[in-house]
């Protein structure tokens, strides 16, 4: 087919014009709550993002697609675990889709990269995972709420546990990004024994041969890892494969020992201790409903990520109801969010002055339950009404 010369010549011009029209006129959405869910949906960290998204969407299924009584739309974006891509997706969600709330980011390096444009556009961010120390302390912002924990917390709990257990020589391993640093800082705040080895690996490193060799050479008693999702899966398999599980005990936060890792690793994880603010065996009514509905809807047990996504949706739902749908009134929305009038699946929940949670933390162990499934069993409480260490640095007007 011969394309007329003129059309070919004008093709760039036509393309520009066509795309403007295709983009469509931005109709002003009336009485609808738009939530931008930016999460990691590809790569080894994808399992975490998928869980947060599924937990969040479960609430919408329970309320019939509504948040606070108003119809809600969740626009999902994939940050591909790249701060660059996350930033571009954020611009689109804020400026093109004009969302009312944002949530979903898994990794703290992405959180720190996308925070600035979100706060500048006066959009509330309800974090269902990333809780960097920067946003808890000096850089706290009225538009940032975290409904999960501050990055240090789960590691603080395990540090205290290992200290109390009398574990003498430890090796520490975390990925080299803001949450990894927070993890080690938090751990060392409560563990005062001997840290023989402290290593940070690139966030995309999957082969831990070098680190395992060093641990073997250092002859440590315990290994504490913060390796979420696929990273943890690889490490634990290689740890067992190198025969180190015979000589040293592996500890981790809930991130490295939840359902997603258990599914991939299996039996070799039995007996691993980990800490968390939530367990699926918690007895309160909200949790029972959550776990049952999640299993029915998705055919698997929820992880702590899913519970956080669920609570984030419940929080938004409560806040929108409190302001009776008037989300343009930012002051009122903030007040409603701070009040946190919702039933969290972890039991009692309240925000600190820096808009991070004050809550209890528990020790869990991977074991076989009555049905023979390998899963986490919640043991004792490690911290009660524990606040993060950075609240003093936050000079935000309340």
């Amino acid at each position: 087919m011969k394309i007329p010369n003129r059309i070919v010549a004008l093709s760039p011009t036509l393309a520009v014009a066509a795309s403007l029209l295709l983009a469509g006129t931005g109709a002003i959405a009336a009485d609808k709550i738009k939530v931008g869910m930016l999460s990691t949906l590809s790569g080894p960290g994808a399992g975490l993002g998928v869980d947060i998204r599924d937990g969040f969407n479960l609430v919408l299924k329970q309320t019939g697609g509504k948040l606070g009584g108003l119809p809600a739309e969740v626009i999902v974006g994939d940050d591909q675990q790249s701060p660059e891509a996350g930033r571009q997706a954020t611009e689109r969600l804020l400026k093109q889709d004009k969302v009312d709330f944002m949530t979903g980011v898994v990794f703290s390096n992405i959180m720190l990269a996308v925070g600035q444009p979100i706060f500048q556009s006066r959009t509330f961010y309800i974090s269902a995972n990333a809780g960097p120390s920067q946003f808890a302390g000096a850089q706290c912002n009225p538009y940032f709420f975290n409904v999960a924990w501050q990055n240090d917390n789960l590691h603080e709990a395990m540090g205290k546990t290992m200290q109390d257990k009398g574990v003498r020589r430890v090796a520490l391993l975390a990925p080299n990004y803001p949450a990894g640093k927070d993890a080690i800082v938090g751990f060392k705040r409560f563990y005062t024994g001997e840290v023989v080895l402290e290593r940070y690996t690139p966030l995309n490193q999957l082969d831990y041969g070098a680190e395992l060799s060093l641990m073997r050479a250092a002859k440590v008693d315990g290994v504490y890892i913060f390796l979420p999702g696929g990273l943890g899966v690889n490490f634990i398999k290689q740890f067992v494969g190198a025969g180190l599980s015979k000589d040293m005990t592996l500890y981790g936060p809930g991130f490295s020992a939840d359902e997603d890792v258990i599914r991939a690793v299996g039996d070799s994880m039995l007996g691993m201790f980990n800490t968390s603010q939530w367990g699926h065996d918690m007895g309160n009514a909200a949790n029972k409903r959550f776990v049952a509905d999640f299993q029915k809807e998705y055919g698997r047990l929820p992880t702590l990520y899913a519970s956080q996504g669920y609570d984030a949706a419940r929080l938004i739902d409560a806040a929108v109801r409190d302001v009776k749908g008037r989300v343009e009134d930012k002051e009122a929305v903030r007040k409603a969010l701070k009040a946190a009038h919702f039933d969290s699946v972890r039991g009692a929940f309240k925000f600190n002055s820096n808009q991070f949670p004050v809550q209890d933390y528990y020790l869990r162990v991977v074991s076989k339950d009555v049905q023979g499934r390998i899963t986490n069993r919640t043991l004792n409480q490690v911290f009660k009404s524990h606040a993060d260490a950075y609240v003093g640095d936050c000079k935000m007007p309340s």
């Binding site: 010369n5 795309s19 403007l20 006129t25 660059e84 093109q96």
Partner: protein, 340 residues
């Protein structure tokens, strides 16, 4: 008005070329005005007003981004299309320009009048150093060496935690231009970018139509012959490489402003690959090749990415089709017809 091509004595001139020369000035000359350029310019100038009327100012930002990549692709086209140097490390120069602006901003220097020239100088300097070494090689080794240098720079920026490392560097605001212009306004920024892109194209055109540009294109056609008649081939290529690096640096500076964020991802080899795709899509060796390629590529991304996450399949298919069926790109299709 006919102009005698000054490079005429360097190339053979069959009859058809003679006639073509009478129209434009010479086989090696390029015209600023093509059938597309004026309507396109009008459309581009009117874009912010149109977008504002539809209340879609987001698209002004998108258009700025497209123009910035058009600038980067044009700079690559200078050495790739007109000079025949297949550099797989061009994105590194864009990245250096971007980081220059980012680092200066974080150090307190926010004025564009210092930051942007520094960006161009930094990129030019790296281009000079890398070119000096790489241009001594040929063929696939040139490709690999430029790739290697770009990767080294990428890993260097990853290792420098002081400038954010892998997690990148946020800019607190856009560069300040003074003159009562606020680059924070999307429309103002857009016009500044448009002006700079237009200026660059004029510079490239003047360069190509001058003796230097004719020699460069002749080197692309037959390097051995040029060397044999005593032309300083290496020097010409190095100058072109450096100039292209400086232009890429400017594109980088503008990119840092547009996205407010710099990260090592800008320097990766896959980014260089994307720039090369733009050049070949638009037309290797055509004056507006870089612009056309960037526009088509990024619009495809913008329109398709909203519809499906698998848009890169369509991009790959389009690219493959162009490589197999239209080796001279979209602008080349037009030129080929014109010559008939």
């Amino acid at each position: 008005m006919t102009r005698i091509a000054s490079g005429a004595h360097l190339v053979a001139r069959p009859i058809e070329a003679e006639r073509a020369a009478e129209r434009v000035g010479g086989l090696l000359d390029h015209s600023l005005l093509s059938r597309a350029s004026l309507p396109l310019l009008v459309l581009l100038a009117a874009l912010p007003a149109v977008a504002g009327a539809f209340n879609e100012t987001f698209y002004v930002g998108v258009a700025s981004r497209i123009l910035i990549f058009a600038l980067a692709a044009t700079s690559l086209n200078l050495i790739l299309g007109f000079g025949g140097m297949v550099s797989f490390g061009h994105a590194a120069f864009v990245g250096i320009g971007a980081y220059a602006v980012g680092i200066l901003m974080n150090a307190g220097v926010a004025t564009a009048w210092i930051a942007w020239p520094v960006a161009m100088l930094a990129s030019a300097l790296f281009a000079l150093l890398i070119g000096a070494v790489s241009l001594r090689t040929k063929g696939v080794y040139f490709i690999m060496i430029t790739l290697a240098f770009a990767q080294m720079l990428y890993y260097l920026m990853v290792s420098l935690k002081a400038y954010g490392g892998e997690d990148g560097l946020s800019l607190s605001a856009r560069s300040s231009l003074g003159l009562g212009l606020d680059l924070g306004s999307e429309a103002t920024f857009y016009y500044v970018v448009l002006l700079l892109v237009m200026a660059t194209i004029v510079v490239v055109q003047r360069l190509l139509n001058a003796r230097f540009g004719h020699a460069l294109q002749a080197i692309r056609e037959n390097e051995a012959r040029m060397a044999a008649i005593g032309f300083p081939v290496y020097r010409h290529k190095l100058i072109a490489f450096t100039v292209a690096g400086a232009m890429a640096g400017l594109a980088g500076a503008l990119l840092a402003n547009q996205s407010g964020f710099v990260s090592p991802a800008l320097l990766q080899w896959s980014q260089s690959g994307m720039l090369m795709i733009m050049v070949i899509l638009g037309g290797v060796g055509q004056l507006y090749g870089g612009v056309a390629g960037a526009v088509v590529f990024l619009l495809l991304e913008e329109v398709l990415a909203a519809r499906t996450i698998h848009w890169q399949f369509g991009l790959g298919a389009a690219l493959l089709a162009v490589v197999l069926l239209a080796p001279n790109g979209l602008m080349g299709l037009r030129r080929k017809r014109g010559a008939q």
